[in-house]
Assembly symmetry: C2
Homo-oligomer: 513 residues x 2
Amino acid sequence: MKNILGREIPEVIEGYGKVKPFEGAFANCGIAEKKSVKVKSVIPGDNKVLANIEEALDKVELKDGMTISFHHHLRNGDYVLNMVMEAIAKKGIKDITIAASSIFPIHEPLVEYMKKGIVTGIYANYMSGPVAEAISKGALKRPAVMMTHGGRPRAIESGDLHIDVAFVAAPTADTYGNLNGTEGKSACGALGYAESDAEYADKVVAITDNLVPYPASPIQITQIFVDYVVEVDSIGNPAGIVSGTTRITKDPVGLKIAKMATEVIEASGLIKDGLSFQTGAGGTSLAVAAELKEIMKAKGVVGSFAAGGVTGYIVDMFEEGLFRAIFDVQCFDLQAAESFKKNPAHMAMSSSMYGNPHNKGAVVNNLDVMILGATEIDTNFNVNVTTGSDGVIMGGSGGHSDTAAGSKLAIIVTNLVKARLPIIKDRVTTVTTPGESIDVLVTERGIAVNPRRTDLIEKLKETNLPVYTIEELKAIAEKMTGKPEAIEVSDEIVAVVEYRDGTVIDVVKKALE
Amino acid sequence: MKNILGREIPEVIEGYGKVKPFEGAFANCGIAEKKSVKVKSVIPGDNKVLANIEEALDKVELKDGMTISFHHHLRNGDYVLNMVMEAIAKKGIKDITIAASSIFPIHEPLVEYMKKGIVTGIYANYMSGPVAEAISKGALKRPAVMMTHGGRPRAIESGDLHIDVAFVAAPTADTYGNLNGTEGKSACGALGYAESDAEYADKVVAITDNLVPYPASPIQITQIFVDYVVEVDSIGNPAGIVSGTTRITKDPVGLKIAKMATEVIEASGLIKDGLSFQTGAGGTSLAVAAELKEIMKAKGVVGSFAAGGVTGYIVDMFEEGLFRAIFDVQCFDLQAAESFKKNPAHMAMSSSMYGNPHNKGAVVNNLDVMILGATEIDTNFNVNVTTGSDGVIMGGSGGHSDTAAGSKLAIIVTNLVKARLPIIKDRVTTVTTPGESIDVLVTERGIAVNPRRTDLIEKLKETNLPVYTIEELKAIAEKMTGKPEAIEVSDEIVAVVEYRDGTVIDVVKKALE
């Protein structure tokens, strides 16, 4: 069958099950059910602190076929997923499904576990590095499931993704399972991606390298959700956790794109008191923040909130009074983590509060402006940030689809040509975010507005910005690069791309070697 | 049938249903289930702010036979319950069950609604004043259900108590339903009793007199739980909310009892680093805190946490460094509310985290010392704080049973004789808290230790404290007062007293006029 975007998808995918086809960004909202949860009562005198991960595996009765979850606040510095998997492999347990909010190059040991059948399923919102490449080459028994940052808590809370055991990497834990990310040598700030896991998994094990006396303070995940606590030497490499390396681009092309994107925002009329804003941590996206900052200051505008994975640039704007609040699901750098710790209005949000479409209103619903990247975009404004143009998985939605759906003005900023390939295609290799959610594409050579946004097209006519149709922009690019060849892939499905509501927006086929 | 305490209880109570008899404080722990919840998705552009309570009743489709809930942080200053009920009565809706965490004299209008069949059921953890008296006289169609502060969230989360619509009195709300109790003219501090309601009710309506632009900061109850927001002129009378009137007793008898109770704590060996402590806001209980404070200072002891409904006395101890943290479910006075706002280690806890026995460990489980009052206590140490000796409801467990069950040392402080009646009985009028949870009774004439605590009996032998058996203390009292007459009640059950695990520990019979 074909879904509403014309993507060819089987009705049933082996190892995944029956497909609910994508039907539009808000087609599947309405009444949603949060699943029932079983909890083992802890009574006075019970002890939660265990000697090591092996004991925890025994206590939670981990066995073949189970699904275990991890969160990615420690990013490419995370030791916890690998430590737990090593212990599982040693015990001879197999057929494990890993539900990680994201997978990074540091998780390379998974490749061997996949080949040996120890790991047979993977859920992730984003994956890069050896694991993503191995999946693309068919190393995983069942198709990987790619979700969004808001779709993952939706799936967990609804029961679509049942977690047997959640392992929560905790920069600080007390002896009764109260956790925070603000204290300890592995401090990472917010813990937003771990909250649904803690609330809905059958069992929850906190793994910490900073075990403190009861009670920890502050508390981000409370004792009522945590079954056991294990202390280890180190949960992560600080250099990989909060890198401090988010930087505004110095590339003149990127700066030009950022300037144009900011002019689009200004023309939209959204730069006024109450403005809400989010941007990714890419160099061009950050440059938009820098441009916006100057305009807000010049106009004396006080925004309502900035959200996201948060960087120091956003913290600077907040601390200069340009936003009243920050909603933070994850801190991207040390400055963000510091601010999260000290500024009361720099507030935590769970990934469910951030982007779950089946809540009573996620934070993304209140976003005015969202700055996003793209690997590819097609003439229907569908965006791919999941696979490269070679068809190999190198990313995933993360919050891309969530913020695009929620925001009033979702702007894609990208070079028109990358690595000698035009980014505008007739058909993207993989659809991550549907075109209906994207309002504007800004490239160094010109701007294209989604035809649905007739209001914005009118407003941009009053500016000197170089506005084209997306087909025109595509032609400009292809004049430089020639028409790219279509990539060849096999028929084997290696990954299912779920939209935030749990429908299937696309599939990823096995890449040819 | 009789439950394990020998209380005569029917197997089925009309208007309540099948009785699960109380079987012991921790007999019903194990695997507990949190119920599934249905949520109406809110999509971008949806508006949550409604014009008035009437519109909210329409939106949530309030109708005959529904259960609606309220929390009691505004205490005897609360306007919200009465406002909502007035609107319901005007619409001609009837047969409403009210699940309020507590009911105060200000809620007197309920008496008329009960008589007219508009209100036919009441759940509360505590009730005093005209409503309690009317229930005792049989004015309510179905028996009232008395719960504990930890038992109420257990019942809500398990589905035993299904709430159709929760009305949350919010000192501050933003336009998307983020709530806090720290800002606004009706600021009350913590909102711990409202959290389970917000998380598990079918619909949630916030009622505020301080509607602020999005987002509110801080956020205690988030937008993902709130369907609608209504702004009204005033949610409560500040004089009744945080009264600032909690005071240490000046009565020499009370001070003597407090001094002896503190000597018991000292003899128990619990006054050492890491000590955790809770006390009610009664004058004698607060005097124990004052005594304990001096000992902690003299010994250089740093406690782990104080918990509870929090008073300025506890805040003083915390701010002097005698406790590392405070867990706060409700602020009892202005000083507590101020501290809750400014001190990061003065932390909120939901009533579920406070006392729910079917969680992965409530805060009460970690209490060392708990100071409690009693209206009556029997020779098996069963305590009544639900009814007066005349059988009329004048209180209820609140956190009495929860903290007694969780703490290592639960001390009852009370005068041996009150209003010329001895407080020690052969059989208390109503059992609120089972004797197995009570460790010591301290009166001005002597101390009785629960025979189960042989360790403590040994320790007290090394002191000069006047230790008796509880039968001996009873005899001392009766020598002064004579043996009191048994009260007469009818056979009609007007209230069912649930233990924190949902079993029935006792019933209250209709008082004779």
